[in-house]
Symmetry: D2
Subunit: 215 residues, 4 copies
């Protein structure tokens, strides 16, 4: 059965859980429209995250990859539009690396667009009552690093692998220690991931409703 690969990250930045992995792991083995979900955990480490991803792709041979990561300031499921060829780490990663102004892939293009139908996914999520939107920057830490690396893998070796990245809010039990931070229940994130997978499999060309930002 063909595979959809979902990835989540290990905890970082002093947290003891990462809701991206908590949500993704619940879908390991789930079957949808003739495909099976494979869930894989990524280290929050520059370089090692890409190595782990490449092994997971080689092993599962997926038709689509949706990487998921935690974003403390977001209130909604946030589909990233652009992966940038830039590592600029404000804090160290989990191995103590702190690259500044170096490319993810030396000689790679400046950026890639997501190749999943992200507008259709956002619309399907909102129709199901789950707050969702598009984002034009995944930052410059390990999330963007993994997203760019995955897009590059598609560009150079796996043209049939559609790639996207989803940033998710903190889990409520994390937000407890960050006064005022928005949160989303992990169960709702998982429900959103099911909708995303269904939409990926049901959608060829993305829809084109306006979803831009002014600034």
């Amino acid at each position: 059965m063909p595979t959809i690969l979902l990835t989540g990250f290990e905890p970082f930045g002093g947290e003891t859980v990462n809701p991206s992995w908590e949500a993704v792991r619940r879908l390991d083995g789930w079957e949808c429209r003739g495909h099976r979900v494979a869930a894989r955990l990524m280290p929050c480490v520059f370089g090692a995250a890409l190595d782990t991803l490449e092994r997971a792709v080689a092993e599962t041979d997926p038709v689509a990859l949706l990487a998921v990561g935690q974003a403390q300031s977001r209130a909604e499921l946030s589909l990233e539009r652009v992966a940038v060829n830039l590592d600029d780490a404000r804090i160290p990663d989990n191995a103590g690396n702190r690259p500044v102004d170096v490319p993810v892939v030396a000689g790679g293009p400046t950026a890639y667009f997501a190749s999943l139908p992200i507008k259709a996914i956002a619309t399907a999520l909102r129709s199901a009552g789950i707050p969702a939107g598009l984002s034009h920057s995944a930052g410059s830490f390990v999330c963007n690093h993994l997203f760019y690396g995955a897009c590059h893998l598609r560009a150079v070796r796996r043209p049939d692998l559609r790639v996207g990245f989803l940033h998710i809010p903190l889990a409520p039990e994390q937000a407890v220690r960050h006064p005022g931070a928005p949160s989303m229940a992990v169960g709702q994130v998982t429900a959103g991931l099911r909708i995303a997978v269904e939409t990926i499999l049901a959608t060829g060309e993305d829809c084109h409703e306006a979803a831009g930002t002014l600034e």
Copy 2:
């Protein structure tokens, strides 16, 4: 069996649901520590809200009242500390009233403090993984109006009735139409209300951890 009164509001401001009532109604009849919860729906109308509250109090004779209301900008369960003797409506209420700079109760004191153990409730909520905090203003619309009216009822006629007000975030299905707005699942709000009721019944004097704001 003695009663705990929980109130929620009807929808307002163009919404078709109000998560305060959706969360509160699920607890109608719930028994906790020898008390039974009575849930009542309040109109989002100046004056009429207080009439409805007074009837509900007369009918249920509660030992404690926790009024609940929707707050679009809040990300957490927000326990109000101060009820102010002021109506100043930026939008009309559900009956078209728009009072400006009039007291809730003519001749009443400028403000009342909540009489529930709100710091203990916030601590218990956070311990259970539910984002919560204190707020120093319930605004000047119908939420504050009801809160002040309830405090005044306690002051003049029901000294044994402990009173508090809880502001809650939008439900996710509402936040879908308010890009960037934080939200909380109604099920989590209901879980939080159970904890609040338990804490009210288990707590005599409130705890005194610092929970102030600088500005």
Copy 3:
């Protein structure tokens, strides 16, 4: 010549300047509509701030007092509507005091409303191109402490002294160290204070345009 008293605070919370004092001090001795401004510096210390204020009032015998304080999260000149009888300090004051859940004045009323024409001031500021609005909470630190103490002074000993409190944004040179924090040039704050003083002297009864908040 009758006096208008303006007060600013000394720096606190690790800052080396306080824009409230930087703006206020520039107006010391300014004459407006037959009144002279007296500017006084307040310590950021519970208790001592009130002592200093009482001496300044005794010395200058003002017809009106506008106390000014720094508020890191505000983007506009923010006229406080309510002073609350509560000290609840999240950080120590400049003398190391950290009162929690104690009244500003034992036995005092729960709150006072400002007695300056704050809606007229906000309208005049906006007409002059200076962002301004009303706020329903001055917090529970030394700013609210001073505001409440001034209101109480009016209530018990100086019925002719009109009292208000203005929260102002960080100065730009402070915001430099707080990424994303809004700021306002001290020169613009001073221009705003001139307008506030003129409006206080020109206005008897405050205007009553809606300026409430929903939550």
Copy 4:
């Protein structure tokens, strides 16, 4: 004398001024380190903005271009890092165009990085007491459109033209009608532009302090 080109935009989105042009126009003809500033007004129109820019570049033959635009949600001078080959307009431009999901330049690369020393500029601004930082997205409206077009011009025809984009807050007189919006005095923006020009001319290679974002 060699030229530095600064551009600002005409008002859009219902505003009657655009602070980018108000700040830029004040520097027309200013001489700095053997260079003269040319200030040009850009229409807030897809396509026409690029035509106007190309003419301005042809006419002034600049060594560097700093394009400036208004960003309502920003509190600081915000140096854009990435221009994306995407038009996705949430509102119509000043000619009524509303492109959705079309490239700025058909066949162009997905993105360009700024070629001005933006980290050095941000550091110089903060040293001068002016709030400043980096941004990883200029949105998908006419600002990003102009930024991308300028970067593409450099890539295909003017390799010696260094290009950057600066987003600036609302002017205070605009923020008056947007309660809670941060603002910056136009005089401070102009002071910041002088520092930016000086830094561009004094800096060869950009500095490499970490300035990334996590998400």
